[in-house]
Point group: C2
Chain length 234, copies 2
């Protein structure tokens, strides 16, 4: 843990420690309403692949319920999950040409499927919509940069604390508990750890009475302030 490079004369001020949820700018409802008519509802069952990396990017999806994961692999099989897609999130927005990652269902999932042609046409027809989605992608980029900080400089314990709070906040801000739709293995591949470390770190938070784990998939925040401190990196 601890110490990075020495502070520089130009060092910037510290920032909130845990993952920022992708913000949803005001005109979301309006833009969404215009779009909903263009798509069709699809069901993806748990474990199924929705999108294969390198396939031509012919669709955009919006998650309605359930959860998806975006996966990248190394040639020898090492796996990394770049993001979990939860209700309200768009899939395949930031793709030119071919998909850059595989999308799989972590749980049974309902999503709206748009044809990319129609989706782009809609964007071009409405300047407000274009700006809205530009803002969404900017938010995703900022969230990805927060995760770079997490992977590059945070300990296992800090990563887990950040993760639990971020997932909880995306579902409902200031929640006192979360239901995790994904397995320990998925969490490990998202946080750059192993399943054993994920388990041990959860055990440690439980021992310290910062969380309670009544079920494997349910996490109750017993001491949210402590969890936030850990996630922020002290």
């Amino acid at each position: 843990m601890s110490a990075a490079a020495a502070l520089q004369p130009t060092a910037s001020r510290a920032r909130a420690g845990y993952l920022t949820p992708v913000p949803t700018p005001p005109p979301a409802a309006v833009v969404g309403a215009g779009l909903d008519r263009l798509g069709t509802v699809t069901m993806i069952e748990r474990g199924r692949m929705l999108i294969q990396e390198q396939d031509p990017a012919e669709h955009v999806f919006k998650v309605l319920s359930g959860a998806l994961r975006a996966v990248r692999l190394l040639p020898d099989g090492r796996r990394y999950i770049t993001e979990f897609l939860l209700p309200g999130d768009y899939v395949g927005l930031a793709e030119n040409g071919a998909y850059s990652q595989t999308i799989e269902a972590v749980a049974d999932t309902k999503a709206i499927k748009y044809s990319r042609r129609r989706f782009d046409a809609f964007l071009d027809s409405d300047a407000r919509a274009g700006r809205h989605f530009f803002g969404l992608v900017c938010g995703e980029l900022s969230a990805a940069q927060d995760r770079l900080l997490l992977l590059g400089r945070k300990s296992a314990l800090e990563r887990m604390a950040s993760f639990l709070l971020a997932i909880a906040d995306r579902r409902s801000p200031d929640a006192t508990a979360v239901d995790l739709p994904m397995s320990r293995s998925d969490i490990a591949d998202y946080l750059g750890l192993t399943i054993e470390t994920v388990s041990r770190v959860l055990g440690q938070l439980r021992t310290r009475e910062i969380i309670d784990v009544p079920t494997v998939s349910r996490i109750v925040f017993t001491d949210r302030a402590a969890l936030e401190d850990i996630g922020a990196g002290e």
Copy 2:
């Protein structure tokens, strides 16, 4: 090193291992030409801060020469560099409202400075420009996701190999050498390592005669194929 979670029935196909440079779509020259007249040239000397995190995002810059770094900090001083900005890169594009990270000069840098108001007006006035910059941000997002994979699942040696190739490719594709404008400390904070590990890993590549290091800042690719294999993760 090695093994992540077990392969799943839906596991996706493997992908190129090292950092993908942000792609520059075709109409770049045209869009750039329209913009150049709107900005003024600025010099930022080595070590100076160009942008402070949380300041209102009132400007967009385009790097002409030199190099900048984008920095995020944890409360206790741990530092992470989310990206290096090299000639041709835009700074402050993907920001709504306030800057999300500090920008500092790694070397003496020349950049064009645009007012964000004018920049946005230009984007709105020209649909092609809007799409162009949307594409740029999408490319940045994809590059960030490649770095998540790097930080989450690659060893120190693999990270260094990926880094050297990525920097080299951004300057000129298939180059046989790079001049690194940044210090070991900056490289460490970019790769999520310490300066000692950076140094040792470079030493290892030199010993194995994969690179040559005639000067601290100069890296010659003696065996580019081997470097690519290492960077790709075998």
